[in-house]
Symmetry: D2
Subunit: 329 residues, 4 copies
Amino acid sequence: MIKRIGVLTSGGDAPGMNACIRAVVLTASAYNLDVVGFDHGFNGLLEEDYQTLLPQHVQHIIQHGGTILKSARCKALHTEQGVIQAAAVLHKLQLDALLIIGGDGSFRGALAIAPHYRGQLIGVPGTIDNDVDGTDFSIGFATAIDTALDAIDKIRDTADAFERIFLVELMGRHSGYITLSAGIAAGAEQIICPEFGPVYKNQLSSVIGPIQHAQLLRGKTSYIIVVAENSYPGGTIALAEDISIELGTECRACILGHIQRGGKPVGADRILATKLGAYAVEQLTHGAHLMMAGEINQQAVLFPLAQTSDKKKQIDPYLVRWQQQIASD
Amino acid sequence: MIKRIGVLTSGGDAPGMNACIRAVVLTASAYNLDVVGFDHGFNGLLEEDYQTLLPQHVQHIIQHGGTILKSARCKALHTEQGVIQAAAVLHKLQLDALLIIGGDGSFRGALAIAPHYRGQLIGVPGTIDNDVDGTDFSIGFATAIDTALDAIDKIRDTADAFERIFLVELMGRHSGYITLSAGIAAGAEQIICPEFGPVYKNQLSSVIGPIQHAQLLRGKTSYIIVVAENSYPGGTIALAEDISIELGTECRACILGHIQRGGKPVGADRILATKLGAYAVEQLTHGAHLMMAGEINQQAVLFPLAQTSDKKKQIDPYLVRWQQQIASD
Amino acid sequence: MIKRIGVLTSGGDAPGMNACIRAVVLTASAYNLDVVGFDHGFNGLLEEDYQTLLPQHVQHIIQHGGTILKSARCKALHTEQGVIQAAAVLHKLQLDALLIIGGDGSFRGALAIAPHYRGQLIGVPGTIDNDVDGTDFSIGFATAIDTALDAIDKIRDTADAFERIFLVELMGRHSGYITLSAGIAAGAEQIICPEFGPVYKNQLSSVIGPIQHAQLLRGKTSYIIVVAENSYPGGTIALAEDISIELGTECRACILGHIQRGGKPVGADRILATKLGAYAVEQLTHGAHLMMAGEINQQAVLFPLAQTSDKKKQIDPYLVRWQQQIASD
Amino acid sequence: MIKRIGVLTSGGDAPGMNACIRAVVLTASAYNLDVVGFDHGFNGLLEEDYQTLLPQHVQHIIQHGGTILKSARCKALHTEQGVIQAAAVLHKLQLDALLIIGGDGSFRGALAIAPHYRGQLIGVPGTIDNDVDGTDFSIGFATAIDTALDAIDKIRDTADAFERIFLVELMGRHSGYITLSAGIAAGAEQIICPEFGPVYKNQLSSVIGPIQHAQLLRGKTSYIIVVAENSYPGGTIALAEDISIELGTECRACILGHIQRGGKPVGADRILATKLGAYAVEQLTHGAHLMMAGEINQQAVLFPLAQTSDKKKQIDPYLVRWQQQIASD
């Protein structure tokens, strides 16, 4: 029977992390478990920087972005000494389990601690990138899409008023989830992301062709290209400049950047965060260890923590195909 | 080989209907199909009130609430004469198929026309209520949740400032989807909806008990009860009054009403609408008839139109149980 | 030289009250003044329920609705005993001044305390109603307009989709500020508020006439009437029913209610709140007493607290006239 | 007696331009004037690209960003031949007046046409920059502030979660209006804009000092610097890099860019746009010529078009002083 659990948020912050912390604390309270929250991710664990979390501490945080436990990257955890120290603190504080809210980098931290720790380790996927395997969606993804959309809708107003071409760069270092989803939802005329194949410097015909086609045939009043970060050598601003030269007409770039991480979580993220936080605590009481609590086909499920970054999750092939069909029409 | 299809929106409007119309027109264009849009739901069909829809007509409507085709209830379709007339117009306009975006009431209209019509009939679920079987979510539901949440978050500010009890009534005549989802996402202290059992006039202990418990034990600074419409004899305002009397402290009611139907669709609704609109047209070209295009487990699927209102769709039992567990803690 | 000031928020909460508290604390810190915050308005004063406020207590509250000091009405202050008690607490806590953020009711409370108190009293106008004389705008008004607008824009989507008539009831018991402003900004087809003259039961021609005129001549696709609360015997729902009967077509009512008080303050309210909070503290150091800090023509000014409810503030006559001219066109 | 007027939007688009076009058309209709709208600013005038605008054309555009008339810069108007051509088209179309919605650049275009045109010329200030003299606010400014705020609030979440320093670059090539207003409203820890004095490369003590001071003394959990564009040689990204080097801690830059121009106008902009559009038409009927319709102290006023860029408009000295006082505390 577990009695005391620790919780921390790690890696890039994601809207809904607070909703998840709340669910963890309320559910633990229903199971008569004590909860200790570490500040600044694994750093708080190493530095014994923590606080007891009671239901009154998580009142009315469900609607706030960021994380009341703070987040951080933690270099020390990449050393043998660091992971041993982390396990030692968990033992010292008599914690029967540690719950990590974060992405696959954070889960690797948990896996590194495992050999040295007698307790249970469980992860909850919290990252806007949605690049964690074992769950259909990660906490924060839905909000990031709506934040991106809100910005693209605004750029559409100006693009339309000026009949101009705009590039909008979205986050997603290794995956096109945010870019494809926001691009489809915004009705973007073109989407550039890893899954759609690379764009080479000075070989822009794959990008330029559809623009010229659209302008000629469809009387488009504006043309928006949504671009995943790192899609072009030199970056999206360089891409905009190169397109401008090729087309002989000004093309502007907007880099959305960090506004995609913050903000009030949308309903879908609050519900997912609540469900997964509750489920993770419940499964800890049933002995879950080295697992991630995810949601697949609307069912809460456990998935091996070690496999969350094994397989590249696929973005919806139906939408990929549709976008390509429409764009080439 | 089909050549020409008709499309209409029917029943209560839902955010994302425009995104669906856009996808229908763009996809039809990719398949070289002509599209005719009827105004005011089935009324436009009966009155031959229609327009040809080309890609340029659906530019930049993806982000708008409402429906460019207008919607309406249609009494005439409940008569034998009406359905015969509807079929006659479809034949006259040489439409090989009719695509209906709406809820189960609208689908019953389609089923009534079927015996008289030689072409294909297909439905797409567009209703904020999410009470259509054969799809995990209907178009408009996700936006309605976020609209409700936005209002409840605002009421939370005031409830907190005054340490008051508020009732917020949400839509959902026959189902608790919106109420449960928005209630969980808002961190509502109590949820009253059909699936949680009835509340009887002058037998308010099931409602009052948890309020008193929460105020005593947890130092709650505010208490929000989310209520599905039609949950109490006399309505939610009467319920607030009866609670006020029982508790001896003022309790206020807010009826969200029609603001839940409108607004810019969120990303999830735009993507769902795009996917289902595209899929419905694609399946028409493969001969689909008397089917609804839905999404189950992230896959676009066909489901018999006749069965969309057969079975009461279940709301997430995990969240139902969790909410009851937390509330009684 | 003053050394210590008290601050409280009183009456209906208004977005921007937190921004004002923050400015009071930061400015006081710059002047080396201590600040004590009372909870629950004058109740916290009477019950000695207070906390010291330091700059770190007001970090990142500028963007939140509600008030960290809570608010309340206070019946005890309407008694001689209450005001004597209030003054006694102020003396006991060695407060040289009390700063009240609220509406004219709250200011009357301050005036009642004055004869018994040796310190200074200053008010800052915080109310969504904008019915306080001595300032062009009160804190919270701008946000309330945008909240109302957001709701009316959503209702417009549905009204348009159905070509329907909607009534939207806004707050403003004694004045039409919110109603006129939101009505103009929403492009409402008709505005009913005290300043536009009364509407009598069963004498609806002044309301019905313009509807019929608009529908006949302009091909209106929807018709929205914005109504100040208390404009019709029996309320806005009764008005909608009576219009429905007269016109023979369904007309729906939406009561926005308490969502108008909450929410993240817009920029204009945060700036006004910051300016007036800072100015009030600064003027206290110069000896201001029985004054309200307001803004007129973009200048911070002092205005006698006793006169803030003397004169009925006029709503913009230019917009009133324009709306009537357009409506009758 | 004038009979026919032309209207165009020119320069950078601003939220509220559509609300202004609507007011122009509705007011003109009330005065029995015909309205012709030119597309793409002065280009539409030169190319005789126009449409008649009737009340039904401006229904339900009040809530949309951008401009239904499109906008553009127009190089041809900088030539003698261009202005003569513009005047010739105005005469040919028998327009008694031209109404220009735009910034001071657009007004210079109008002034250039004046010597060649027999009709009346009137301007309405529509630009997010608020750098036009003769009006307290220009159309679009209030919305741009709220758009910037929304982004900064989101960045605050992440900055707080990571206890990081962020730079946020806002628009305003020659003035600090947007930067000061958004900075104050966001509770930014530091504001860098022309009016606060220059920042020199490699002389960053004025920037670095307050950061170090704040971190030492106040336990700040995040630090946001709002920066007007063009405030640092090499741009805001270079500034972030230089601060990172100086402080030895990572500092990130976000460039808001074009999202500041678009979006649904807030209430204040819709009301201002309505008032100034109506007033401009009304004053045209009274013979106004070479004037701009502005609002000063809540009164609609006329101001000589030739002087709108004469004097640098001052940003609120009270807030400037307060920000400096607080920052140095």
